[in-house]
Symmetry: D2
Subunit: 350 residues, 4 copies
Amino acid sequence: MKAAIVGASGYSGEELVRLLLRHPQAELSAVTSRQCAGQTVGRVFPRFAHDALAKTLRFTEPHMELLAKTAEVVFLALPHGVAAEFAGPLLHLGCQVIDLSADFRLKSPARYKEFYGHDHPAPELLEKSVYGLPEIYRAEIKAASLIAAPGCYPTSILLPVLPLLKAGLIKSTGIIANALSGVTGAGRKVEQDFLFAECNESARPYGIPKHRHLSEMEEQLSAAAGEPVVLQFSPHLIPVNRGMLATLYLAPARHFENESQMAALQEQIARCYQAAYSAEPFVRLLEETALPDTKNVAGANVIEIGWRLDPRTGRLIVMSALDNLTKGASGQAVQCMNVLRGFPETAGLC
Amino acid sequence: MKAAIVGASGYSGEELVRLLLRHPQAELSAVTSRQCAGQTVGRVFPRFAHDALAKTLRFTEPHMELLAKTAEVVFLALPHGVAAEFAGPLLHLGCQVIDLSADFRLKSPARYKEFYGHDHPAPELLEKSVYGLPEIYRAEIKAASLIAAPGCYPTSILLPVLPLLKAGLIKSTGIIANALSGVTGAGRKVEQDFLFAECNESARPYGIPKHRHLSEMEEQLSAAAGEPVVLQFSPHLIPVNRGMLATLYLAPARHFENESQMAALQEQIARCYQAAYSAEPFVRLLEETALPDTKNVAGANVIEIGWRLDPRTGRLIVMSALDNLTKGASGQAVQCMNVLRGFPETAGLC
Amino acid sequence: MKAAIVGASGYSGEELVRLLLRHPQAELSAVTSRQCAGQTVGRVFPRFAHDALAKTLRFTEPHMELLAKTAEVVFLALPHGVAAEFAGPLLHLGCQVIDLSADFRLKSPARYKEFYGHDHPAPELLEKSVYGLPEIYRAEIKAASLIAAPGCYPTSILLPVLPLLKAGLIKSTGIIANALSGVTGAGRKVEQDFLFAECNESARPYGIPKHRHLSEMEEQLSAAAGEPVVLQFSPHLIPVNRGMLATLYLAPARHFENESQMAALQEQIARCYQAAYSAEPFVRLLEETALPDTKNVAGANVIEIGWRLDPRTGRLIVMSALDNLTKGASGQAVQCMNVLRGFPETAGLC
Amino acid sequence: MKAAIVGASGYSGEELVRLLLRHPQAELSAVTSRQCAGQTVGRVFPRFAHDALAKTLRFTEPHMELLAKTAEVVFLALPHGVAAEFAGPLLHLGCQVIDLSADFRLKSPARYKEFYGHDHPAPELLEKSVYGLPEIYRAEIKAASLIAAPGCYPTSILLPVLPLLKAGLIKSTGIIANALSGVTGAGRKVEQDFLFAECNESARPYGIPKHRHLSEMEEQLSAAAGEPVVLQFSPHLIPVNRGMLATLYLAPARHFENESQMAALQEQIARCYQAAYSAEPFVRLLEETALPDTKNVAGANVIEIGWRLDPRTGRLIVMSALDNLTKGASGQAVQCMNVLRGFPETAGLC
């Protein structure tokens, strides 16, 4: 199976290259980037220079017909807004498209307009697209032609929350997500804010209180809850290359007032997570004394989930860690491709 | 005025040395450390080696009588539990004591026992001690002989919350504090968890849900609210040397339901903070578009406070940044000394 | 083929675990560590917790007979001096031993004593052992039972220098190696010098001028030169987790005095490196405009080599980068195992 | 005394602001930056926001006449080539000019053209300008109107080497300088190479073998040696914000062949350094067991110098550490101002 990457010069694109170069079933057949056109993959990304394919495969200008001839699956690792221009034509030419941008993650064009400030450029595709979270939408992904793979924030928040919400174990109100992102989460943006000396020895919130990714998170949470969910979401930038840590504040649906009620609830939560994820190859439920740590998931397509009930406040604290470029972007996209094409879901990801 | 530091070989001790070496009114007259006894300050801390006093002043073993003869003010930069052994004797010998540990920050011995697991070793001193947050207890500090300077977590959380709570602008229930600490916050502990390669490229929660410092934070919050406050507090470790970032989730006392109510509340909050802190030399209230960043307070005895009302959730998000070793420890202790001794409060701190 | 790791709780041991868990021909059958005995690999190293074997394989106390029963190849990831106690007995019991310590890297017991300060505990094994640099000693490794895999400093220096020396292109005198090491190079040593806040924002030389690893480097350089070589070697610690960068100052055997002589020499050097390494899977010769960068080799069993002739000084500057834990330790050891056991040399390493 | 900074928005400019805001004799009267014009200093650099002057002083467009009216001393913190356009007019208008760029550091216009690729724009000023290394040119600085303050690489290399060269203790041939720079050394350049994720976990050489700053270093070394000196200089980038570490390989003028000769030479070197620097407030000669570390000089206008004779190679290894923004740029410029204006040399720098 041949796969192409459009916009492969950013961090997500580079991570896709890394994963596809070693994928047993997929062959990387084309990579595009206007600024790198003409150069080999090994030249642009020296870390792959020892790979035989990377030595010869050259970046090209993006060209729809050529892409469609070269590849059955096309990954779009493009900025928001640009991806939408590629998806329609590529689908029309018969490709399966896995988009890493936010362009096709919402179902509601109105919500899109509210959060992105303009009409959706291809609203007819919103219906068609499938939210690329395999742990939740595996069946739909199998049958999809357009997959909108969610990014690091939604993945780190939705995977821990959705099972609890569906099981009715937590309230759908008052959910708070405090999240920390490594700097590659901002993409390979050449802006002063992301210079080494501006990020090193710095920790800072940003995009508070209305970050764009709230739109997709709330859409997914609402679908799970069966009622509109409003999320409090606070992203922060911390000085790590790769990593995302989410700390989630949740209210159990029923108060627990003594130790035995607490123990019962703990049991329910543990069972809920077990039921949802014990068979999932990429979800790591932490045992009692462990807490997540981004360094344990760096480079892996894994999300770590740990949790604590607090008898003093009655709250449930759930914490998750993932690599923002792998399970939070490109690893997830490859996982979607594996599901879509009937490959073993872990192919190229272990 | 002569000042001594007991336990000066840790990070807080080193920061005290830095601040006292350049203090215009205080003279560093003794530093103690069992492991460094006999060596000069300039030898133990090469960064001070060009200082004339650091070249000659030598670490000694801690010795109560000598300390009392040498210094009028004694700083205790000792681990929890050890400080309590020094405070009483030094007070008895006529010293004024500024303790950087948690030993004298609580008023309630029962609460101490609940959080620290054993009886307080000197409960009679708990009553006497003053909580060393000058912005809140300036008058009491002036008259104190034993000051318990709060650390980085309490400072980063209490300073933003107390004025709102006292003014009745926020509810006393449901307060959540999500905090990120630089690694020096753990002290100069030689443990595997704090090795470079265990912290670099790592972000991780710890001490969840019942961290010991909750005890003093809740005591202070309760005093301000006039009723018991239970706090949700989640500390995290991030790979910066110095820095603390707190993100606080608060519920306004009254719901705002439209833009004009929101504007009115914004006005109230702004006025409340202005009233509390506009004359404070070490509290920096951020203007509308700015958010706190630890790199802006590194090495400074300053706390940055920024905030946002979220019309979607009705919550107030307050964010603060400080240097865990300066305003979060030793700078604060020196500020207390300045207040105590009638020096200009900013002496040696600007 | 079954492999065991003795002393698997350090950084080299952990990297061996990572590489062997995914090795197609080798099966990790035992891991020992006194302090971790009884715990599973997945517990001690959470990053491997999703691996099926890591979930069940438990650390044990080191026990010679058991090891020999369990494994055909035993890796020793032990501190200097301790490895020597294990090698003899394991060899006697029929194991093949790959030692990552410095214990068996020298041929000369006298030289060992000079640099390590005591008699070698098993001098009879020095003769038997093979220096585990496959690019240089591939044939010998195939036939070995005891392999002393060199560490990061020797690898980063010897691979770039040996071919030039053998070809007579550089003088054997005046060689200078200035090297920078990531902090994992010091091992998982719980010492103050390696705490996060002592290494972050720090760059420092150490072990100057007579570092122990000089002994093996000089032995290898001397063998290649056919005469005694004395090396100037300056190690430095820099704040990266994994990475080593060596900058080598070499004198061409013949002066070049004009552009055409320089071009001729460039051609000779390029050919020399091509002849030595163009078929080597783990040596990446950089093209003209590129220079090595540790981030390009992180996690890979690769050494990058770049070079420049300086017409102003007449010197040849050769620079190399590798990951101190992979090509500089455990990757190299696995490469040795592959050679030893007749596996494809890149098995488990690409 | 009033001082202005032209081009104050970069890292050197920001460091000048920091130092001048707290200077007891100088008052910062103007700061210019095209991109920041109209904003207050406190807004552009939040870390100074608590400073009274920073709250009101606004960046302006650079305007010669206004600068000359506002300030007696003007600092130029501009890119190479731009500074030269400002120096002449400002001198003509009666200002004293301290330039932090490389524009006026050379005496020879021919050498300038060789290294910078074009004719010097104001060759008549080259004669007039004084090299702003107070430890070497104090007398000349006192009488200067145009001072060319050297940057981090020259300072870290010249201060350790010049006294030895002048004393004839080392050969003027074969000098090698291997230097590591923190990322602020590159200025606040918004380029991909300096993004956080490109620098973090990276160590890399660059500009090898002919870096532009060689020109000024060789000019100074040659002047000290009384004959042309050719320097081998290898700069590297490492992931620290502030810091420079130079490791220098030098050949003693006379071979030492036994321990007593070595002891004699050690004595001579120690005396030479003592004579040159024991009275210098900003040069810290390290005692025998210590080696320099960038973390010991961060934020200080100090250079640490340590050294070792190597009996095995006969070489002298000298190592130095400084903060590339302080003693390596803006601190040095302020030190020059102090000398120039007859202030205590340490004013505002301790």
